[in-house]
């Protein structure tokens, strides 16, 4: 699993001041100084431009997020403030990654060990483009005496500078120690160059979405309680709706439930069909295999089944051993995933589609307004006797004054794959498979026709160049129980979002949407008024009409 630290650089994030370049030092893993980890520190321009070995600067960063707390070192939340703090992150994995978000591009450095060398990859991803630009530095083993470092500098207008400091490079495409790598706007090229004093020769990438405005909060605040009586007027609370508790039911009250390895299953079969056992079994059943209620393949390890036991058929205890289950139902927790807003505007909700792939169920559409900004938890309750399951998707989010923590999506299915033990078993399994294929075909057919027309309807509004609601399409059919075993088994969330085009002068020329009351003299820039009263202004009637039209259609303060 790749562990990474994400540092978003978006509007309002004070990573780069106007006149200086903020740089980050990253010590790669397996260096001599920190034997297996990263360090992250911030440096001043002076230290870097002097190409001198900086001291490990100490500073706090804004908006750093550590996405996997399974570092060996204690998790330290990082905030960007004036002041100093040293932050070290260690990982025992061979690869760690730090991502820098400079909207709309993501820059990441992957550090990894390759034999005795420590390599770093730089790559850039733009929304809507596939990355194709990467460079690699390798540090020979004789450089282990000092920690290898890669420096990243982000200027105030979005230029990313990279430099490997003071180490012998390997390979023709590696920079010298005094060169900077500049990731140009063309993702297919990487420009190498010596950093000039004024930076004029370096092709610059635009921070298209770097806004310097102020977000106005909701203009109407609803008080939950009456200020005079304390009585609750508006209920903004949300009850916790969790997954059900597992009832304590012994599966072995009548039947016997075992987990077996392949070898154990073979040993069971050999013993079952031996002369001595067959004679015993046939006291109760006509056929030897009638003692088998079910034989399934479960698509998971069943690690909770640990009690060793000998297999029983009827009242006879066999020599063959297995692990016996102690409960009918058990939980499977797939963990959590966060659905993060990307644009931090209405497009995250209106024009973004979220779906969840649930193993043994397929893709289910999620309501974006339910899950955006929320942490989703996926949990199964499985019946070990039948292979039936219920799956629960819980949504946790504290936003918009509501602390939501509830199961909002639930489904059921069957995840075990039946192994027929008789010819009649096989016939019923085969029929089940045919039924599944038929229903899947009809599902796909309806998806193809119904949703294409829906997409065309959605496409019309987008063709008019307005961000509109996005249609969701069905991405999978239904799963029959025996088809489940070959289906994808890793749960994930699929997020489909638009690629917004915002001209660089839009903020100044047209501003952004607002809905608040203000005195016009307190505002700046382009302004449109929704409602205004011109009574008391000394103008003729027609002049007032013209003035109102100007104020509503837009003017500059």
């Amino acid at each position: 699993m790749i562990k990474y630290i994400k540092i978003p650089i978006r509007r309002g994030t004070a990573f780069a001041s106007v006149d200086t370049i903020t740089a980050f030092q990253i010590d790669l893993p397996y260096s001599a100084l920190n034997t297996s980890g990263w360090s992250l520190a911030k440096h001043s321009t002076t230290q870097l431009m002097g190409i001198e070995e900086p001291t490990l600067a100490t500073d706090l960063f804004k908006d750093i997020e550590i996405h996997n707390d399974a570092f060996n070192f204690a998790h330290i939340p990082i905030r960007f403030e004036d002041g100093v703090q040293v932050a070290y992150y260690y990982s025992r994995d061979t690869k760690s990654r730090i991502e820098f978000y400079c909207f709309p591009a993501v820059y990441s450095i992957l550090g990894g060990r390759d034999g005795t060398n420590c390599r770093a990859w730089i790559r850039r991803e733009d929304l809507g483009k596939t990355w194709s630009c990467s460079r690699r530095w390798a540090f020979p083993s004789d450089a282990w005496g000092v920690a290898p470092r890669i420096y990243l500098a982000v200027s105030s207008d979005g230029v990313l500078f990279l430099m490997a400091f003071g180490r012998q490079m390997i390979g023709d495409d590696n920079p010298t120690t005094t060169e900077w790598v500049v990731m140009s706007e063309d993702v297919n090229t990487v420009a190498w160059g010596i950093y000039p004093e004024n930076g004029a020769d370096i092709e610059k990438m635009k921070l298209e979405y770097y806004f310097d405005g102020v977000e106005v909060e909701e203009t109407t605040r609803y008080d939950d309680t009456d200020v005079n009586t304390g009585e609750i007027k508006r209920d903004n609370t949300s009850d916790i709706i969790g997954t059900p508790l597992i009832p304590d039911v012994d599966p072995n009250a009548f039947v016997n439930v075992y987990k077996l390895s392949a070898l154990q299953l073979k040993a069971f079969k050999t013993e079952l069909f031996s002369t001595s056992i067959a004679d015993i079994v046939k006291r109760w059943w006509d056929k030897t295999t009638d003692c088998i209620v079910a034989l399934n393949i479960a698509p998971l390890e069943l690690e909770h089944v640990t009690r060793s036991a000998q297999i029983k058929v009827g009242t006879h205890t066999m020599e063959a051993g297995a692990k016996q289950a102690d409960g009918v139902l058990f939980k499977v927790n797939c963990g959590t995933v966060e659905v993060r807003p990307y644009y931090e505007n209405f497009a995250d909700y209106e024009a973004t589609v979220v779906q969840c792939y649930i193993p043994f169920i397929g893709f289910i559409p999620l309501k974006t307004i339910d899950v955006m900004g929320a942490t989703l938890t996926l949990e199964y309750i499985v019946n070990i006797v039948t292979g039936d399951f219920n799956v629960f998707l819980k949504v946790a989010r504290n936003k918009f004054d509501v602390n939501l923590n509830a199961v909002l999506y639930e489904s059921s299915g069957k995840m075990f794959s039946q192994i027929p033990v008789t010819s009649s078993d096989y016939s019923s399994v085969l029929q089940g498979a045919i039924n599944t294929m038929t229903s899947t075909a009809s599902t796909v057919a309806s998806a193809t026709t119904g949703n294409v027309s829906g997409m065309i309807a959605g496409g019309s509004s987008i063709a008019s160049s307005v961000l509109g609601s996005a249609p969701a399409i069905q991405r999978s059919g239904s799963f029959g129980n025996n088809a489940s075993i070959c289906a994808m088994r890793r749960p994930f969330v699929l997020i489909e979002r638009p690629r917004i085009a915002i001209p660089s002068s839009l903020q100044d020329d047209k501003g952004f949407m607002a809905n608040f009351s203000a005195t016009l003299g307190s505002l700046e820039g382009y302004t449109e008024v929704r409602h205004v009263n011109l009574d008391g202004i000394d103008l003729t009637a027609s002049e007032k009409t013209r003035l109102e039209s100007i104020l509503k259609n837009g003017f500059y303060i």
Partner: protein, 133 residues
Amino acid sequence: MNDLTKTLTNERIYNDARLLNSEEVERPTVTLISDVDLTGYNYAKIDDFGRSYFARVEVVRDNLYRLSLESDVLSSRADAVKSLTAVIGRNSRKYNSYFHDNELTAYSYRTVQTKLFSNPEVFAGNSYVLVTV
């Protein structure tokens, strides 16, 4: 044209301009004699009317100019406009990004991103489950 505050340059004052339609405060027409070429001018003020005007200048004959004026309602009452309280619909510096904005456009292509749950390998293995009676 829709700037509340305008920067005026090359100001000239004429005290002997003649008003052709004295009853018209909003769209007056004046003539004046000027030894300076006024064809490049586009703005005027008439203090007696308390207004600023957009001006269209015509040459009548040598040194005689006719100015067709239309009141600049925004600048004429700039102070009063600044003191108005209004419900703001759009602004360059104060806004709320969570209102739907028809000015934002989208490319035809969209991006697709997949995010695994934090424990994605729970179904990585297989087991045989035998149920006997």
